[in-house]
Structure formats: C-alpha cells, structure tokens
C-alpha cells in the first residue's frame, strides 16, 4: 500500500429512485486499491442500494461509475463480476445441498470435455485458492452442514475464484460470532494487503474502527463524510450518522425480579434438523421483572430451544411453561398463553415480505380487530400507521411490501408488532440484527421498559455487547446445555466467552449454586 493511492472505484453523482421515492441522492464515493473502506449509516440510508448499483443489480437513474479509471454501466451482476467486482450479500445465496467446491465453481464450471464438469479439477482449484488466501475449507464438505462463518467464507472464495478485485461485503458480521468476526477481519486485512479493495458495510462502530482504512458515512441517500480512520471515535461517527448524540449503551436501573416465573424450561430435549440432540436436557427459568440473556456460539441449540418455546418445534422430552401454562407445539396456543416472539429469521418466519406492511403488523393481532367474522381493516391500518411512526420505520407506507424496506427497517416492523402484543413473556432473538445504533438504542430501551413493567424478557443474541448491555442474568449455552448461569454485573465478556467456547464447564452443582446466588441477589 506504499504506492500512490489509486482509485479503483469512483462513483459520482449517482441517483436512484424507486417510483417517486428517491433512495440515493447524488452520492459520490471513491475506493482505493488495497483499502478496507467501511460504509456506515442508519437503516434505510441507502447503503445496500448503492452497493447493488455498483454490483449491477440495480440500474441507476443518474451519475457515473468508473472502474479502474474507465466508465462502466453494468446491466447485471455477470458483467460486474467479469469486470472484477464481487459482492457477498447479507443473506447468502449458496446451494445448501452442494459441496463447497460445487458452490464455488457454480456458474463458471471447469469442463472436462463433452460438457462434463471436471470435479477433480474443481476440488483442486478450490483447495488451491483457499490455501492461497489462507481460508481453510474442506472442498468436499456439504455447504448446508457448515456453520454460518464458514458459509460466508465459501461466498468470499466464490468471488475470489472469479478474480474479484473489489469485494463488497454487506453486513457480513451481523450473523457471526466474535471469534468468526475476528477471523473474517484477518481475512479482510490479508486480502487488502494483496491488493484487493474491500467495501464493508456494518452497524457496529467498533468493527469499523478496528478494521477499516477509511470510513464513509451515509445519511438519507447521501455520502455525508469520508474520514480517515485516525483519531476518530465511535461517538463522532455515531453523531455523523444520526445527526444527534446516541447512547451506545442503554441506561437501566437495577432489576427487580419478582418471584413469579413466566418462563420455565424443564429437562428439555430436542433434535435438530439432522436428528442430532440439539437441546440436551436443559432447564432454566425467567422471572417477571428480569432480562435474561442467552449467550452462545451459533449452532449450540439456541435455535431449537427457542423454537420449542414458541411452539414451532416439538420437543423429544421435557416441558416448557409460559406464564404458568404448559406450552405445546402450536404457536397460536403459546401466544395466547402470553408469549411475544421476535424471531431471528425475519424473512422466512417473522415477516411476509410480499405482504403489505400493515398486514405484517396486523398478523398476531387479528383478534383485536375482529368484529365477529369481520376484520376492522380501517382500525388495523390506523394502528399500523401509528406503529410505523412510533417505531420510526423509515421509508414505510401501509401498502408497500415489507420486502421493499431496508433490512433494519424490516426488523423494526417485526419488533413493533411483537412488542406491542399484550404478552407477559417476551423472547427476542437477535433483536438488533441489522439495526442501526440509533434504533438499537430505542429497541433496547423498549425491552428495559418491558422489564420494568413486570414482564419477563429473554434475549438470545450472538452479540456479547448486546447481551451485556441488556441482561440482568446471563445463561451460556454450549452443545445444547446451559453451562453457566451468571449475574451480569458480576461477570465479564472474557469469562462468558470462555464458557461459550466450552473451555470452562461449571460443574452442574456449581452452576446451580450460581443461580441460587443470583436468586438471592434479586
């Protein structure tokens, strides 16, 4: 990087409209050779849209894009790829039943004559390229069985296999554990040093400061500042993004847990997708007036656990009680018992992306608007409009499909719907997934308010910052078991991290006594 900084990408005056809504106003941005360039901004600021334009997924309405000094207009990603631009979307687009090698060559397969695919060469190439970039991967592993971090690696290798010089990563860390995030950052640095340019979108300012050379801030469809990563602080960036100062950590009073148990899980066992024992005899309780965080590396049974509580999965053994009612494998009954649930899979489970926003806000509240067999549509729409304002869902109109909202604003829609249910137990999975710092602040504040109002809040998150910022008590799940039950104010991320990695296993008796102790504190 000692050579003169060379702009490999230069975007200037780009405009993008969706109907009469302008998502990008006159945005300009340059990316240099060998740099990691972070793009930050509020939900709906236009980050994904701008990158989709660069990647040829969306046409632009005005402006120019130059690549390696030459003006380009891509009519599709294929052309962008050929020109050396690669993009990894937040939601991966791999074929889960194919192997790593198959996925990497898909679309540019090496042929062995008679149009047959040269499998051996595919595997050799995959092994070679993963060695070259220091990204360890077994070419024959089936992608569907890989953890998220490795799947992301496949996506990155896929772009490198097509010789991408410019790599766009859209919120790559939103789904990663801290360990996986560190590995990804190492990869990004290596790539930058070998002359690649990386555009990196994230909402986590700590990551921005840790890994990027330059930082661009987007606000309402404009790039409002591009800073060198020297001497800037998270607070300054946050201020530029939101236009006001933000609390990076929510203020909350000490918990006043009451004795009333609103969630009780007892000896729960459940099998995962591949029949393995994903939840393995697990017991805990959440009381009214407390926030309990469940920390754990993705894939240690937290998904299955929450699905059992929500009624989306049938446990093999054990029981779940919601507000004193025995839970069953039927979401409707568990909701009626007093459950509100924000799922992690918002596109598949938590929202209907093709349905209007008001419809998404009304599901789960149908009875409130029932007038005999009829639905009070006007009232439901009025409430939806109210929620859109209250939860600050940007770019929303009642009839717009939920899928046209930016990622973070989709999240706000499902949060708004669930947290306004009259339910005493709130389960939030990755509540601030893809949400900008301003909105995280308000979501966290809402969760704390719910706690203070005497509800029980159970937060499942891969983000330790979030767990520590919210929880009164922290449970750690490892291989389907609760290996630690800690008072948040008496522990630290390192300790929790060790439990998460299975490096330290509190003997069951000790864990129980910790939890006893926790009870006494409350």
């Amino acid at each position: 990087m000692s050579e003169t900084p060379l702009d490999v990408v230069s975007i200037s005056g780009v405009v993008k409209r969706f109907g009469d809504f302008t998502a990008i106003h006159d945005a300009s941005l340059t990316v240099r050779r060998g740099e990691v360039h972070a793009i930050v901004g509020e939900n709906g600021a236009g980050k994904s849209t701008l990158m989709n334009i660069l990647y040829g997924l969306l046409p632009r309405d005005a402006g120019t894009i130059e690549l390696f000094g030459r003006p380009v207009t891509f009519s599709g990603p294929a052309e962008a790829i050929a020109a050396g631009v690669g993009m990894v979307h937040q939601h991966f687009k791999l074929a889960p039943s194919f192997t790593v090698a198959d996925n990497i060559i898909l679309g540019s397969e090496p042929l062995a004559g008679y149009g047959r695919i040269d499998r051996a060469r595919a595997e050799r190439d995959t092994a070679a390229i993963s060695r070259r970039f220091g990204l360890d991967l077994d070419p024959r592993a089936v992608v569907g069985a890989l953890p998220v971090g490795l799947r992301q690696r496949v996506e990155i290798l896929k772009t490198l296999y097509r010789e991408a010089q410019i790599l766009i990563l859209d919120e790559p860390t939103a789904v990663l554990t801290p360990q996986e995030t560190r590995e990804l950052f190492a990869t990004m640095r290596t790539l930058a040093e070998s002359g690649h340019s990386i555009v990196f979108i994230t909402h986590k300012l700590r990551e921005v400061l840790a890994v990027s050379n330059r930082i661009s801030v987007m606000r309402q469809g404009r790039i409002v500042a591009t800073l060198d990563n020297e001497g800037v602080t998270a607070q300054e960036i946050a201020g530029l993004m939101v236009g006001r100062s933000v609390l990076l950590r929510v203020k909350k009073a000490k918990a006043e847990a009451r004795d009333e148990v609103l969630l009780k899980v007892d000896g729960l066992e459940a099998r995962g997708e591949r029949g393995e024992a994903a939840v393995d005899g697990l017991s805990f309780a959440v009381r009214s007036g407390e926030i309990v965080g469940l920390a754990g590396v993705q894939g240690n049974g937290q998904d299955e656990l929450v699905e059992c509580i929500a009624g989306l999965r049938r446990p093999v053994a054990g029981s779940v009680e919601i507000c004193g009612t025995k839970a069953v494998a039927d979401p409707r009954r568990n909701r009626a018992a007093g459950l509100a649930y924000v799922p992690a899979d918002r596109g598949g489970v938590g929202l209907s992306l093709a349905s209007g926003i008001w419809e998404n806000l009304t599901v789960g509240h149908i009875e409130e608007f029932g007038r005999g067999p009829f639905l009070a549509i006007k009232a439901a729409r009025a409430r939806a409009a109210e929620l859109i304002r209250r939860f600050d869902v940007r770019g929303a109109t009642l009839d717009k499909p939920a899928g046209s909202l930016s990622g973070g604003n989709q999240q706000k829609v499902q949060i708004a719907r669930e947290l306004t249910r009259d339910a005493r137990l709130v389960i939030a999975e990755q509540p601030s997934q893809g949400v900008d710092i301003g909105a995280i602040e308000s979501i966290h504040r809402t969760l704390v308010e719910m706690r203070d109002a005497g509800r029980a809040v159970f937060v499942v998150s891969a983000d330790l910052d979030e767990i520590f910022s919210l929880s009164d008590r922290i449970l750690v799940i490892y291989r389907g078991r609760i290996v630690a039950d800690l008072v948040a104010s008496e522990t630290d991320p390192e300790t929790v991290g060790r439990y998460m990695g299975g490096l330290e296993e509190a003997p069951p008796a000790a864990a129980a006594s910790v939890s006893e102790a926790a009870d006494h504190v409350h």
Binding site: N52, L57, G347, S355, V363, I366, L375, R381, S404, S406
Partner: protein, 366 residues
Amino acid sequence: MSTEALDAAPSFPLAGLVKPLVQPLVAVAIAVLVGGLLVLALGENPIEVYSILVHGSLVGWPNFLVTLQMMSPLLFTGLAVAISFRAGLWNIGAEGQMIMGALAAGIVGYAVDLPTALHIPLALIAAFAGGLAWALLPALLRVWLNLNELVVCLMLNPIALLLSGYVSTHLLKAPGPTNKLPDIADTAALPTFSLYSQVNAGFVIGLVLCLVFAVVNGGTKKGFEWKIMGLNPRFAYYGGIRVPLQAVLVMMLSGGIAGLGGAEQVLGEYRAFYDNFSPGYGFDGIAVAMLANFHPVGVVLAAFLFGALNGGSAVLQMMTGLSKYLVQVLQFIIVLILAAQFSWAFLGSRRKAPPAHAAPAAPKEE
C-alpha cells in the same frame, strides 16, 4: 417521508381500482394481436373475424344470453381455483371436483322424490358435498403427510371422470343408447330464464358466490388469514394462524364451489348427468382465476370474457371457414402470457429484492 402516506385509507382509491386491471388487459391485448396475425396467416381478415366474434357473443339478446350460459360454469370453477390459489393451495382439481358434484346432483336429482323447495337445496348440497369430498383427500394428504396437493389433485381428475363414467354407463345408466343417468325430476330443475339459452338460476348463484367471496376476502378475518397464508405459510403459522386447519377449510370450500358448478350444468343446463359432459371447465377455471388475479370480482369479468369467446366461436365457425378452435388458441395465448408474467415476476422478485433485503429462499413450498 410524508405523513399523508400513512393515512389509514389507501392513498389513491382510483388508482387502486385501475391498477389491477392493467396486467390482465395487457395480456388480452397481446393475445388479440397475436390471434389477429394468426388469422391473417390463415388467409382471413382479422378485423372481420373479430367483429364476428364480438357480434356473435354480445350483440342481441340471444347471443348475449348464450354468453351468460357459457360463462356460468366458469364462475364456479374460476372462483374455486381463485380462492385456493390465493391461499397458496394449488387446487388444480376443479375439473374432478365439478364432475363429482355433477354426479351427486344428478343422482339426487332423479332418485329422490321431494317438493321443489326441498329438492333443489338438497341437490345443491349434494353437489357441494361431492366436490368437497373430492378436494378433501388432497387437503388431508397435504396437511398430514405433506404430499403436494397439486399432484394429488391432478391425479384425481381422471379418476373422477372414470368413476362417473362407470356410474353413468353401467351402474345407474338410464335406459336407451345415451351414456347418462336418468333425467332429473322437474322438482330438482334450476329454472331457466329464456328460450334462447340454457342460462339458469345457477348463473345467479355463481354471481352471488363471487360477490360473497369478494367480501370474505376483502373484509373478514378468514379472508385476511388466507391471504397471509398464501404469501408465507411459515409466517402465518408463527403468527398464530391455524394454517393446517385453514388449508383444509379452503380446499373444502374450493372443492364444494367447483361441485356447485357441476350442479349448474346438471340441474340447469342438461337436466341429467351425461357422461363426459365437461369440455374442461375445471381447467378453464385455472385460466379464469389467473386472468382475474385471484380476485372474485375479477373472476366474473374473466369468466365473461371466456364465456363470450366460447359463445362467439360457434358463430364464427358457422360464418367463416375458421375452426372454432381458433378461440381456444386465443385463450391459450392469454394463459401463456399470464404464466410468463407470473414466472417473470417470480424470477424478478428473486433476482432483485432478496440481495438487498431478506428472503434467502422463498417460503419453502411444502
């Protein structure tokens, strides 16, 4: 973001009325154009042909009444398909369900002795039950065993045809050369309105059903739940909608409505169950439902168009050297264009929306 956009009322009621019409009208316009070229290639004058079609189906009472007669069965099968497709259930078995409904109506119509006030309702209920029963099997297999209802429905169509054939040519065959059941009693006959065509009270029933379902879809809890279910069943289930139960309910209603279409034919038009009576009304229903965008009022309009084409085609054959199948070609073109738009929109939604936002895989079609 302007706050007016958040008004509880839809922002442009007029645009809301016009917009859904654009896509079907474009499809029809293209079909008319392509059909015109085809006629030209066959050495006829397209303008003349089209004016014969329009004349033959719309101008003058007799022609118009024939069109209404032709559209009657399509009101039922179109509505049946529309409500199931809207709920994400691919009931392509309306043909079989209609045949079973017709068979049930035909049997009750001749074998039971009752006053009119009871006989007609009983025969209609029998038809509804016949169609319902034929839709219940795919519904239950779907809900219990996760078998694709599309395949099961498709397989049940020929079975209905063969079964009704066996009943009407062997088991309960009327004496005489024709393969049919005995004529229904006068007490079971749906009244007709005119000498010019067989359009009968069944037409009114179909029309009323379409209007009823317009209200159900647009204003009731069930209608809302079905729509959500059709777009993302996993979300619907998570949100507390009883998806399996509603799926069975929708399939039963859909089958029952198709069955009533059979009653319209047997009790209103033919006055007996004839073997192999349907020229494929159940399949035309799929085209009608698609052209209608699964909207019940759209079904009325689309059924009218298809009815007019069918009605006009007989006149066309008489007046020109062209085969009446030309009209079917027109209908096929419409279906092809709609299907293409369908898959185009589907592909487009997968190509454009997901990268920026969620939806990795479309809700898994179970």
